[in-house]
């Protein structure tokens, strides 16, 4: 067992970003970090992209998580814990409204069929809106710590690149091509007659193309505001006020992902990274699986079966630690905190608090 904790990662942080693949307990880890912060007197808000009913239940939110921060009832915490779910489309809508020249332009965009598709499904939108939402919450005076749970994809850190998702979206050739007729004051239909456009129209259907053209034309003039906003989000995420927690479970694929995330962060110059290894099989005593096997062989009856049980559990524990080794090695100086596999499910605040005692030293 390691004696590392996440206390250092929390100290002096304004933003904590949790990343890792799906199903490793990332959302629960984010909630537990928020809980620990509230118990140490901070006003924390946890943003999750995971609509898991169980987390809402564990937090005592009977109506589920909402798109706006809701205060969690913590009896005697000196601080506050709030939680919300990321609503990608709503966040994109709000961004459009803030940047539009007037209400008319906003409505033209929000009502466009092509926009409705991209706001929910353009690859990277969710990641970008997670970053946008956390920037917004960072500026909100109600909170002094934002904990964000990123989408379970390799793109989760795309927003860290200046040439990130939005810039790529705004800079691509189709956009420029489509904007050309608008700038010359020509009509939409002219764009659709260009050979390239005709070809695209043939593939996706001409209605879809007409919607896309109308969208880009309605969007004209808003790129500057969007880009500025993106730069300021990136600035926050690359500053020392933002800390990263990479979460894994003891399986080869999640460890591979965790190692990949740590490498990506290092490439961007971010080295203050903490690791969490969830659901690690406990070892039950100091010996190895082999020792327990020997004890089982030397005993009989119930005692032999009980030692065999210990041997089997330790074999799983040893396998888990072998899987996690590359992750632990890569973190170097950074802490890797182990949370043991528990003998029950986390379904209430007490369950979250049990995990908190594994992640943090504070009582």
């Amino acid at each position: 067992m390691t004696s590392a904790t996440l206390d250092g990662a929390l100290e002096g942080a304004d933003v904590i970003v949790c990343c890792g693949s799906g199903g490793v307990g990332k959302t629960t880890t984010a909630a537990v970090i928020g809980l620990a912060a509230a118990l140490s007197g901070r006003r924390a808000v946890v943003v999750t992209i995971d609509p898991a009913r169980r987390l809402a239940d564990a937090l005592g939110l009977t109506d589920g998580l909402a798109g706006e921060p809701q205060r969690i009832d913590l009896a005697d915490a000196p601080g506050e814990l709030w939680a919300m779910m990321l609503d990608t489309s709503a966040a994109f809508d709000a961004l459009v409204r803030r940047n539009a020249g007037d209400a008319d332009q906003a409505e033209r965009i929000l009502g466009n069929a092509f926009y409705r598709n991209i706001s929910g499904s353009l690859s990277g939108t969710q990641e970008y809106m997670a970053a946008e939402t956390l920037h917004q919450l960072h500026g909100d005076e109600r909170f002094d710590l934002v904990v964000v749970d990123t989408p379970p994809s390799r793109n989760a850190l795309d927003f860290l690149d200046a040439s990130g998702v939005l810039a790529r979206f705004l800079d691509h050739r189709l956009f420029k091509l489509l904007m050309l007729p608008a700038r010359r004051g020509m009509r939409v239909v002219n764009a659709a007659t260009q050979p390239l456009m005709r070809a695209i129209g043939k593939v996706v259907g001409s209605e879809v193309l007409a919607d896309a053209v109308a969208f880009f034309q309605a969007f004209a003039g808003m790129e500057g505001g969007f880009r500025q906003r993106a730069e300021s989000v990136i600035g926050l995420l690359r500053s020392d006020a933002t800390r990263y927690v990479v979460v894994a479970s003891p399986h080869r694929d999640t460890v591979t992902e965790a190692v990949w995330f740590v490498g990506q962060l290092a490439d961007k110059g971010i080295v203050r990274v903490a690791g969490v290894a969830n659901r690690v099989h406990p070892m039950f005593g100091p010996g190895s699986a082999g020792d327990a096997h020997d004890r089982a062989a030397a005993a009989s009856g119930d005692v032999a079966e009980l030692w065999r049980n210990v041997a089997e559990l330790r074999a799983r524990g040893e396998a888990a630690r072998a899987e996690l080794a590359p992750f632990a090695e890569l973190l170097g100086g950074g802490p890797l905190v182990e949370v043991p596999l528990l003998d029950g499910d986390v379904h209430d605040l007490d369950g979250l608090d049990e995990i908190r005692r594994h992640l943090f030293a504070a009582p």
Binding site: A52, V203, G205, F284, D302, R316, E318, L341, D343
Partner: protein, 250 residues
């Protein structure tokens, strides 16, 4: 038999060893598709400049449909008796398999429409395709697989095969664990350790059995159980062991 891996890190290839394995990635499939449909040599540039992203988004599901189209072509080639596709995770699995129906509604004609029609035909024919759902004996995965099963039945109409429950700690994965409260531990120095380990194992098994029972109650599909293996990373030998377990499944 052919194994097909979608957009993956090449994991499946390592696991199946010498068996034939094909990788299909959505961006590559879309690029190929565009090349075959009038974009010729600019297809590569379209994909690197992000235009493909926008085309894919303008007609949601088009990237899924080109991937399914490639799988359909492999099936139609007649080269394989069976093609096993490692599909996307729960949430995306539904959008992936509903992409054809969605495009049928959105696009009235043209090559994409024809592709969607062919894929629908494949998915609706229980002789040609079925979905095998995989889950773990834990609360969230069971909830997810039940939701996915209903969504696939209602929205895709594809035949559902068995549900595979992975990582089951049972007779195959470990022996009997005596009740620590009644076991005779007189004079055993490590009695406390033995009791704790037994209580832990029994509690995990109870949780697992409850979830398996709940899965049976909520989903009227045959279940195949795979034993939990205490191995760091699966190797070829483990795959053979699991394949044997599947063959023995009722």
């Amino acid at each position: 038999m052919l194994a097909v891996e979608l957009d993956g890190k090449p994991v499946l290839g390592q696991l199946v060893g010498d068996l034939p394995c094909e990788q299909i990635s959505a961006p590559q499939a879309l690029e190929d598709y565009l090349r075959e449909h009038g974009f010729g040599r600019v297809a590569k540039r379209l994909s690197s400049s992000g235009v493909i992203d926008v085309v894919a988004t303008a007609a949601p599901g088009i990237d899924d449909i080109v991937v399914l189209g490639k799988i359909k072509a492999l099936e139609r080639s007649g080269e394989w008796d069976v093609i096993v596709v490692d599909g996307p995770a729960a949430g995306h699995a539904i959008t992936f398999l509903t992409s054809a129906a969605g495009l049928q509604d959105a696009v009235r004609g043209g090559p994409v429409r024809a592709q969607a029609d062919d894929v629908m035909e494949l998915l609706h024919d229980p002789e040609r395709s079925q979905v095998v759902l995989v889950t773990l004996p834990e609360t969230t995965p069971v909830n997810e697989v039940v939701e996915t099963a209903y969504a696939l039945e209602d929205r895709v109409g594809v035949r559902l095969g068995a549900v595979v429950v992975n990582n089951v700690d049972g007779p195959a994965g470990g022996g009997r664990v005596p009740d620590p409260d009644t076991a005779d531990l007189a004079g055993v120095a490590e009695a406390e350790l033995l009791r704790q380990a037994a209580a832990f194992r029994r509690s995990r098994r109870r949780m697992q059995d409850d979830e398996i029972a709940r899965l049976s109650a909520e989903l009227a599909l045959e279940q195949w159980h795979l034993p939990q293996l205490a191995a760091a990373g699966l190797g070829r030998a483990d795959i053979v062991e699991l394949a044997d377990a599947l063959r023995r499944a009722p």
